[in-house]
Symmetry: C2
Subunit: 253 residues, 2 copies
């Protein structure tokens, strides 16, 4: 079972969109997939058409009582399950803040309760705090969505040392599995320059396929659907399908 | 002296871009402006050409020792000063986590040390934690950048109750001064629909002028400049100038 933390402290780089659409594409390819909404904003939960504030059981329930984990799982598509989040999750940061290192293995206790999946994807919030550290401590791999803009590129310099620290202190097997270029705009020099820079610097880590700017990606969550369910031939949908194949093949290049 | 917290827990909606460009435009209009980078990502600091990791004094210095606040101020343009941030700022969340309500007035102690400005703008990180709550507790007004996408629109439902709580518990004078529509794309129905929805729901609070999607806005931070300094006739630059006038006139509509 591979567990991917999808992380970046830079906001709005396409973390939730990647988890939603990669989760869907990988389940379509025949694998059993669990996606976990680990962001109090609960956009992944909303993006599949659920109302976070009406849910009785969420990832917060599982964090507080790991034995209840399996009762928080919702089946949303064939071979695709979700552990949803709601704003309550924001309480976890305070509940566990005291026990710093011990507090960072809470999600690991939850994942120990889970079996029967080929792949787990964890959607992280845009911070380097409790949630992202927990996800890194519980994961086997890290996927970094990189919006092809200046601030997102710079954010990698802050994120890589954190991944290294978690690897040293809590999770020796944690591997940076790859970087997915997102919101790529072929008409715009900034996008091209950041993509080039990222490929030069991170060579074999940047996936071949990129997610282009495509309004269908931003629209599909309004229908509670992955982009492939709304417009399977859209450029966004085709990109996520191709990236899913690369991730399943285990190689970035 | 008006103190604006520029806040949204949704990532990537244009908070930093708004603080950088509004700060510049208002100083150009003749007011004395201080901008405060209150995000450990320190994008505002980077956006004006500084290297966060090389700075000896930052907002973190001022939080720990408010008496030192004035020594953290850097003059960056005529009538425009900055209190920079660096990744060290992330330590503040842990340093003050224990004292919840008391911890939330740390920034207020810093601002008490400051005088001689017409306007202060505070750039918040994409969370509803220590930093944003502190900024709301210290501010006179809140400006909310609203990217014309679904998740950003939904984020307002989570943010408004927080503003209300801070007003009740820590800052009775806090006023929601306005909503700035950002990354507006006139060619795209989603953008138009979200803008319409926002104007219907928050009538009178949404500024007349919107910030369009404009690659110059994303490029100018690479030169360490506001967009008006790189391309004063760009659509982005003209939009920020018009919004600055609305903000100075004290009216959203
Ligand atoms: N390829 C794309 N083309 C167009 N819009 C996109 C694309 N990918 C994501 N978006 C939209 O851009 C916004 C940011 O994406 P998303 O919310 O997935 O990022 P995130 O990193 O999860 O944000 P946060 O940091 O707030 O968690 C969303 O409104 C989303 O619908
Ligand atoms: N009007 C615009 N047109 C094009 N690009 C924009 C525009 N406004 C901002 N950007 C770019 O979009 C990205 C997100 O904007 P910005 O970083 O200002 O948002 P933010 O809300 O401060 O993000 P965070 O939540 O990470 O703090 C940046 O790369 C920025 O340069
Ligand atoms: Mg997200
Ligand atoms: Mg920012």
């Amino acid at each position: 079972m591979k567990i991917y933390a999808v992380a970046s402290q830079k906001g709005g780089v396409g973390k939730t969109s990647l988890v939603q659409n990669l989760g869907y594409e990988i389940s379509q390819a025949g694998k059993r997939v669990l996606i976990i909404d680990f962001d109090p904003q609960s956009n992944l939960t909303f993006g599949f058409g659920l109302a976070p504030e009406e849910l009785e059981k969420t990832i917060y329930t599982a964090l507080i009582e790991p034995k209840k984990t399996n009762s928080t799982i919702i089946n949303i598509r064939k071979r695709l399950d979700l552990i949803p989040a709601s704003l309550d999750l924001a309480g976890a940061e305070l509940a566990f803040a005291g026990a710093i290192l011990d507090g960072y293995s809470k999600l690991r206790e939850v994942i120990k309760q889970i079996s029967g999946y080929d792949i787990i994807l964890i959607d992280c919030p845009p911070t380097l705090g409790f949630f992202t550290i927990n996800a890194l401590a519980a994961a086997t791999d890290v996927l970094i969505p990189l919006q092809t803009h200046a601030y997102a590129y710079k954010a990698i310099d802050q994120l890589l040392p954190i991944i290294e620290q978690v690897r040293e202190r809590a999770n020796p097997k944690l591997r940076l599995c790859g970087i997915v270029l997102t919101m790529f705009d072929v008409r715009n020099n900034l996008s091209i320059a950041v993509a080039d820079q990222a490929r030069k610097r991170f060579d074999g880590l940047v996936y071949e396929n990129v997610v282009p700017v495509n309004v269908r990606v931003a629209e599909s969550p309004l229908d509670g659907k992955a982009v492939a369910e709304v417009d399977p031939e859209s450029r966004g949908s085709r990109a996520y399908r191709a990236i899913a194949k690369e991730v399943l093949n285990g190689k970035a290049k």
